[in-house]
């Protein structure tokens, strides 16, 4: 291919105009003829046995068209893995958290549906409940699931090298505990689902989602219907951040209601329901023991994490492993012991999050700084001494095929003026670094790869059919940009059909950081295939070899003699007449060890490739109020290759909000037992425009050998390393380590007070 005409350019995203004019339709915006309004009756108890549900009064209410309870379901349990199937999405035996789905109504209007919920009588036997993961594992704690003794849901043990010996050999060892409370995704779009069921048995679902194929498969299992009858459609999604991935009760319930009523049903959650009854982010207690050599190299790491998983498994094995994996993907860990426990409690269900593991990753990155200080090593230097590089193998066996971690650290340090600032700023101001690696395209069986097709119209316009999913990141635009570049077309010449479980081929979705690396790879393959077919036909017509030809602006031309040119449409028409229509086909499966398993076999190549990043945060701490203000963030990220630099930058900027100011300083759920106290946007504080620092993005390109044009991922840029950077910057500013996230003013003040006492 000739030089890039489109990739690498700051192009306008294809979905921008629809979104700027209000034409983009999200699930709650959709209507279908004779559509009913759905509402869910939720458990008021954290733990109770359901003795009886009487829906007879509600059924008699004028305007009620269907009511479903667990009795209407097939009794199939859901869990992302075969060994984690613990949740009936409409529970029959027990409720296990406040807000759990007990029954649901479809009625002619919302008022009637709400009225009907009040008429459903549920008889509960209230059971003792447990809300703390450490208490939940003690003898005598209430058992939430019959199969899980001591409420341990998942245990991921990993041991590499000789940890005990390495600790004995270490020059310096330290132990710390870090904790964090639960927090929320708080996507701007509340959760919603529209379900429609026809007399031929076709179920159609619209819902904000990160993977229509994953949803369809789960619904097919749960409803005991063939996969070909379950059709999860494309709809605009108002943010996901990991919280739209697996199946939720809402989709299942809307489907049951639509099937029972024989009419479409739309379920739109309130903000409170969106907080309590979809997914939340794990709280965790993390114990870290680290031994280093005199020069700061890690010799031994022992990590124990206890995560509050809430009432059900969800993506448990992944969630329990990811913080550890992200750490082994950053540094050389020759001897490491990890024990991750995910514990059941009577709280809402926790899932994966873009800023997952703040206590874990924040803790490791802050402890690294503590050790650096003890040894008299600059924190950036200590990171560089431990950083992985191209060709290295990670602790559990993944090879790194491209790595710009050191470059990212060095460039971020240089750009931020680290050397002139660290330890040298006036009291109250500080600077700190965070860094991490990130798996790109991890093993998900048959749903871990992507395939794509391209067909042409006789006017040389094309349609790309891809499973790619866009929750706002720009993935749709990205695959079109890639295909247009390969085919010498303008982006507007290619229309995209995507994210539909019936029409588009399998794709992992906006999951495992794989949209650029895997989905765009498949789209590129389809475009290359089509390009080769076009050139083949054109070579006869232009009397030149395929190698001598190129495509640009909808024309085929001879590279050495550009005046010999032909409209691409001619080749497409000739192909049709000759019964060899141009049909591009591409696919990509990341080269992972498919035998690798999160719990039973955490060994072998874990991802197709890895991205790397470093951020530097500068803060101001008000020692009177305890308020921390992030003033500047400089972030450098090895995304492999920036297909659209504007979109790549947007990922860092968003991460600084969600992972940085939000997850590090503001966001947490507060509780009274199992009752969430701030399930609303007045009291659940998220970053606003005035809370945001100046952000300087630096794109590091390592041109990954596998990625499309060398691209890896950019979505996790900063989101998982901001915690460390801010925690370390606070120490640089005022000399206290805050080991509990989020770092709220009360914790800062308490730490400052403690420090004064010690003095």
């Amino acid at each position: 291919m000739a030089e890039h005409t489109l990739v690498g350019q700051r192009v306008v995203r294809i979905d921008s105009r629809a979104k700027a004019t209000g034409q983009a339709r999200y699930t709650a915006d959709l209507t279908l003829p004779r559509m009913l309004c759905g509402k869910v009756l939720r458990s008021p108890h954290a733990h109770a046995r359901i003795l009886n549900i009487d829906t007879s009064k509600a059924e008699r209410l004028r305007g009620v068209r269907a009511i479903v309870t667990g009795k209407d379901a097939a009794g199939v349990k859901w869990g992302v893995f075969g060994y984690t199937r613990d949740q009936e999405l409409l529970t029959r035996d027990k409720v296990r958290y406040i807000g759990e789905d007990v029954a649901a109504v479809a009625a002619e209007d919302e008022d009637t549906a709400v009225e009907a919920l009040k008429l459903i009588e549920v008889e509960y036997e209230v059971l003792p409940a447990v809300f703390d993961p450490l208490e939940a594992t003690q003898e005598g704690a209430p058992q939430i699931h019959d199969h899980a003794e001591n409420n341990i849901n998942i245990h991921v043990p990993i041991e590499v090298g000789n940890v005990d010996k390495a600790f004995r050999d270490a020059y310096y060892v330290r132990e710390d505990r870090f904790v964090n409370t639960e927090y929320g995704y708080c996507q701007t779009e509340p959760y919603a689902v529209l379900a429609s069921y026809d007399s031929d048995g076709n179920l159609e679902i619209w819902t904000p989602n990160a993977s229509p194929h994953t949803k369809a498969k789960a619904l097919s299992n749960l409803l005991q219907k063939p996969l070909s009858k379950v059709k999860v459609r494309k709809v605009y999604t108002g943010g996901a951040f990991g919280g739209r991935s697996d199946i939720f009760p809402g989709e299942f319930i809307a489907a049951l209601l639509a099937m029972k009523a024989g009419r479409p049903v739309k379920l739109v959650y309130t903000r409170e329901e969106s907080f309590t009854s979809v997914r939340q982010v794990h709280s965790m207690v993390v114990d870290l023991k680290t031994g280093v050599a005199k020069d700061g190299r890690f010799l031994a790491n022992e990590i124990k994490v206890v995560m509050d998983g809430g009432a059900y498994s969800s993506t448990g094995p992944i969630a329990t492993s990811v913080p550890f994996l992200v750490w082994e993907e950053t540094y050389r860990l020759p001897n490491v012991r990890f024990n991750g426990y995910r514990v059941y409690t009577n709280k809402p269900v926790r899932g994966m999050y873009r800023c997952h593991g703040r206590a874990f990753l924040g803790g490791l990155g802050m402890q690294l700084d503590m050790i650096a200080e003890e040894l008299g090593i600059d924190p950036v230097e200590m990171r560089l001494r431990n950083a992985l590089t191209t060709g290295d193998t990670q602790a559990t066996g993944s090879k790194i095929i491209s790595c710009g971690l050191s470059e990212a650290m060095e460039q971020a340090a240089e750009e931020s003026g680290w050397k002139h600032k660290r330890g040298k700023l006036p009291h109250g101001k500080g600077i700190g670094m965070g860094a991490n690696g990130m798996m790109v395209g991890f093993p998900m069986g048959i749903r871990g790869g992507s395939s794509a097709m391209i067909k042409f119209n006789e006017d040389a316009g094309a349609t790309l059919i891809s499973g790619v999913v866009d929750n706002g990141q720009g993935n749709e635009s990205m695959v079109v940009q890639v295909a247009a570049d390969v085919l010498g077309l303008k982006m507007e010449d290619i229309s995209l059909v995507c994210s539909d479980s019936e029409i588009t081929p399998l794709d992992q979705g906006a999951y495992s950081q794989a949209a650029a690396f895997v989905s765009a790879n498949a789209a590129m393959g389809a475009a290359i295939d089509a390009r080769e077919q076009i050139l083949e036909i054109a070579s006869e017509m232009l009397d030149a070899t395929v190698d001598e030809l190129d495509l640009r602006d909808g024309y085929v031309f001879v590279k050495e003699r550009p005046e010999r040119t032909m409209w691409m449409g001619k080749a497409i028409r000739k192909a049709l007449i000759e019964d060899t229509p141009i049909m591009g086909r591409g696919s990509y499966m990341p080269k992972v060890d498919q035998r690798r398993e999160w719990v039973s076999n955490p060994r072998g190549q874990h991802a197709g490739t890895f991205s790397f990043g470093a951020v530097i945060a500068e803060v101001e701490v008000d020692t009177e109020t305890g308020q921390v203000r992030v003033t500047n963030v400089t972030g450098a990220h090895d995304c492999g290759f920036a297909i659209n630099p504007m979109a790549v930058e947007g990922q860092l900027e968003g991460s600084v909000a969600s992972g940085g100011v939000g997850a590090t300083l503001l966001e947490e759920h507060s509780w009274d037992g199992g009752q969430m106290l701030n399930a609303n946007m007045l009291e659940y504080k998220v970053p606003l425009s005035v809370d945001m620092p100046q952000i300087t993005p630096i794109i590091v390109e390592t041109i990954d050998p596998e990625g499309p044009f060398g691209a890896k991922e950019a979505g996790l840029w900063g989101s998982m390393n901001m915690f460390q950077a801010i925690g370390n910057a606070i120490y640089d500013a005022v000399g206290v380590w805050i080991k509990e996230f989020p770092i709220t003013p009360d914790k800062v003040l308490a730490a400052l007070e403690e420090k004064d006492k010690d003095r």
Binding site: D15, R271, G472, M681, L688, S689
Partner: protein
Amino acid sequence: MEKQLIQLTVNGEGHDVVVTPNQTLVDVLREDLELTGTKVGCDEGACGTCTVLIDGKPVRSCLTLAVEAQGKSIETIEGLAVDGELHPVQKAFIERGAIQCGFCTPAMILTSKAFLEQNPHPTEEQVRRAISGVVCRCTGYAKIVEAIMAAAGES
């Protein structure tokens, strides 16, 4: 609840709608007039997603009763482009990459438009304050602020 007939002027067009006194403006815009460009994020006035302009001022349509909006000029995102020509703020949002998931975008654009009409030459700090009532979870506001500053420069 007793229903009543009211007249609303939305994007310059008159509409007769039958509402109950407790129906919010956002509900009528979305359900009765099918103007779904106005979104609902929290339904309690906290997130700003439902912002529309009433007589040129940004207002939370989830906290506004439809009956209160009678006789006033209501502007939603659908009314911003004139004859297919986008408003400069819409153009700036598109060109500067200020739109990710897009759910807050209508509210952000309307808020920015109203602000720039009052403050054609703002500082960045003023822009940040002006949009601080609308929550965005994707962009970190960086490119939104950049787009508004660019739109101000062009007007």
